[in-house]
């Protein structure tokens, strides 16, 4: 079914880190003229985004966010039992980046660590795993780290994706406690649509070679990328999202018995401004209840939901607030969650 209810587990605090380097999209005319750029940027709504430098990985952004969070909350690091690192831009093919972060953050060697390799829906998947392990009783405190350097994945010479993505990292501390109440999740997957968003080469199906890193013109518009760059079939993804995301949204409302009016904020994956605007309109959501960061951080894949909470809701979460989260993308995978934040600590965003 992919529908899950949890009781008495939740997020104690969150923090984020983004690269200090700001890319102003309208002025970013390395490969395209400003007129063409304006047409794209007006539609996708990404005015600014952040790019990590060549020495900065997703793990570094998550590390900075986690340091901030653990310090803010004055957490004894020996009490962290579980560290999950969510990313599709890990440090290495092996070992898993989560293990490197266990050492860097000074966590005990008894910590359970693993990576989750999923995209835009992954924060919901990561929370579900952390919530489950806490519910099992084996884990008391879990650190969910979620980072992406999408700027390193897509070709800047491909206008279909070259202006969309940005980098960021977040940390969330998950724990048990009666104050958290109930939460509900719906998680889904459709591998028949795996080709819609993909990096074709560089894994073990098509291993790296001189051929796979060679850039070439890929379409009649003159877009250029290699087989180790990501590509996205935007129209197919859009069509899928406007059909399935509202369905899952309503499915979870029905399953949870929660009324739409009882939800304070609807936080969507920041895909692009056009998709997000369309979803909000289709679902008849008030603008003030749908916070957005697409204009200032771009699409940061799995990071965008927690980054939007941290960036836009910091001063709006006093007391108990009910949030609906909706993530969708590569896989394809998609999911919806309804969670309560109860005096959740939100740290200031760190720039590195």
């Amino acid at each position: 079914m992919g529908l899950i209810t949890f009781n008495n587990v939740g997020i104690a605090g969150m923090a984020a880190a983004v690269p200090a380097r700001v890319i102003n999209n309208y002025e970013y005319d390395l490969y395209f003229n400003k007129e063409d750029i304006k047409e794209v940027v007006d539609k996708i709504g990404v005015t600014e985004r952040r790019f990590a430098d060549e020495n900065t990985c997703s793990s570094d952004l998550c590390h900075a966010a986690a340091e901030k969070l653990l310090t803010d909350l004055n957490i004894n690091r020996q009490e962290i039992d579980l560290l999950i690192f969510i990313s599709q831009t890990p440090d290495y093919r092996m070992p898993a980046t989560s293990v490197l972060l266990q050492e860097r953050l000074g966590l005990a060697s008894s910590t359970i660590t693993f990576d989750i390799n999923l995209g835009c829906s992954a924060f919901l998947y990561g929370l579900t795993v952390a919530y489950s392990m806490i519910t099992s009783g084996a884990v008391k405190k879990a650190l969910v780290l979620d980072g992406e350097t999408r700027s390193k994945v897509y070709s800047l010479k491909d206008r279909k994706t070259g202006f969309l993505f940005g980098d960021g990292g977040v940390a969330a501390l998950v724990e048990g406690g009666e104050k958290y109440g109930r939460s509900w999740f719906s998680l889904n997957s459709d591998g028949s649509r795996a080709d819609l968003i993909k990096i074709p080469a560089g894994g073990y199906r098509t291993m790296s070679s001189c051929e796979t890193v060679t850039e070439k013109v890929v379409d009649e518009y003159g877009n250029i990328r290699s087989d180790e760059h990501g590509y996205m079939n935007g129209a197919d993804v859009f069509n899928f999202v406007i059909r399935e995301v509202p369905k899952d949204f309503n499915r979870l409302l029905e399953y949870s018995g929660v009324e739409k009016d009882a939800i304070d904020y609807f936080v969507f994956h920041q895909a692009n401004n056009y998709i997000n605007g369309f979803l909000a309109k289709k679902l008849k959501l008030p603008e003030e209840a749908t916070p957005a960061t697409i204009h200032k951080f771009g699409n940061t894949s799995s990071v965008s939901i927690p980054l939007t909470i941290i960036s836009e809701l910091k001063d709006k979460l006093d007391g108990r607030k009910r949030l609906l989260l909706s993530g969708f993308g590569v896989g394809l995978t998609w999911g919806t969650a309804i969670i309560d934040l109860n005096d959740c600590h939100i740290g200031d965003i760190t720039e590195i």
Partner: protein, 75 residues
């Protein structure tokens, strides 16, 4: 239905409705691009309640094909 579709298609493609004729191959319009295609898909969904797979959408060539699609789904 025909007038409604033509007017909505013209709006999605930022064209004047008088420029849109049933026999036209809509992908040949100068304003048709991967960006405006999203507006066409959004228009079919929100104005006509049509949810469609791209595989099917890609089979439609002319404005008339879209008129027929909309008419058949309405009945």
């Amino acid at each position: 239905m025909k007038e409604k579709l033509i007017s909505a298609l013209a709006e999605a493609l930022e064209m004047d409705a008088s420029q849109v004729k049933p026999d036209d191959i809509f992908r040949d319009y100068e304003n048709y691009s991967s960006l405006t295609e999203l507006s066409v898909l959004a228009m079919l969904d929100s104005d006509f309640g049509i949810e469609i797979e791209m595989q099917e959408f890609n089979k439609y060539k002319t404005v008339e094909d879209l008129i027929n699609l909309v008419s058949s789904r309405q009945n």
